[in-house]
């Protein structure tokens, strides 16, 4: 090292840009692109699957009508479970007893 000029000349002397860098960049970019496409494809597939199974469509409660027979049956079951039909039953039995006594 003799003078500053040598120092700065040496500072600027670096090896050539290795060719392998671009190949690696290209490979990484392709892999990332492939990965994002795969993620998008899976997401799209998921949305389509949800769509076809009807999960995505939110139905309003009054969109559906239930037949009166089913309503009556459900009401009966509900009354039985809740015990609200007991009074009516007592009345029926009472009437039955009165009728049999007569």
């Amino acid at each position: 090292m003799t003078n500053e000029r040598d120092f700065y000349r040496e500072l600027g002397r670096v090896p050539e840009v290795p060719r392998v860098i671009y190949e690696k960049v290209d490979r990484t970019v392709r892999r990332q692109a492939l990965f994002s496409r795969a993620v998008l494809a899976v997401a799209a597939l998921f949305i389509v699957a949800l769509g076809t199974t009807g999960v995505l469509f939110v139905r309003k409660g009054n969109d559906r009508t239930v037949s009166p027979e089913v309503v009556a049956e459900l009401q009966t079951v509900h009354n039985y479970l809740a015990g609200s039909d007991l009074d009516k039953e007592y009345e029926s039995y009472a009437l039955y007893e009165v009728e049999t006594q007569e």
């Binding site: 700065y8 500072l11 392998v20 860098i21 690696k24 990484t28």
Partner: protein, 184 residues
Amino acid sequence: MVDCDRVTLEQAAQGDEKAFRRLYDHYAPFVWRIVYRTSGSDHETAQEIVQETFVRIHRSLKSFNGSSSLGTWIYRIAFNAAQNFVAKLVRYRETTRPLADDEPDSRFPADTYEASEAVKKVLDGLTAEDRFLLVAKEVDGLTFEEIAAISGKSPESLRTRMSRMKEKIRTFVNGTLLPLEATS
């Protein structure tokens, strides 16, 4: 600092591989030089940083809004990547013993070994920012304004730092061998 043309930039942002290759060929030599010197002249490490830099550039090209020149933007990414690496390296060296590296670098001919060792010693005594400043200014001829746009420092402070750094380098190469310290 001559920028790549607008058409190449737009084509590369649209995913044109040839345009991205042109962009790479245009900026890679400078990015390589800066990263190589900033990261301590380690071939493998510099390769990894440059690779990471261009992968980031490719990913972010669409979001480049033109608020600065493309070159400034690219060099900022490279500068940040190199700086992050150096910070990690410093932390690593603080927790482990320093690597013995007294063997001559086989990539350089014997007669330039002394010069390359002097450069290495000088760079080892500088911060990543100062290394970047030194190479960008003295090797690639960037203006203080351009370096300021990349590093986020004011041109005035860069001028002062450069002046101090050159003084220390002058002292060093003139044989007094004073240890170099960060100029900031």
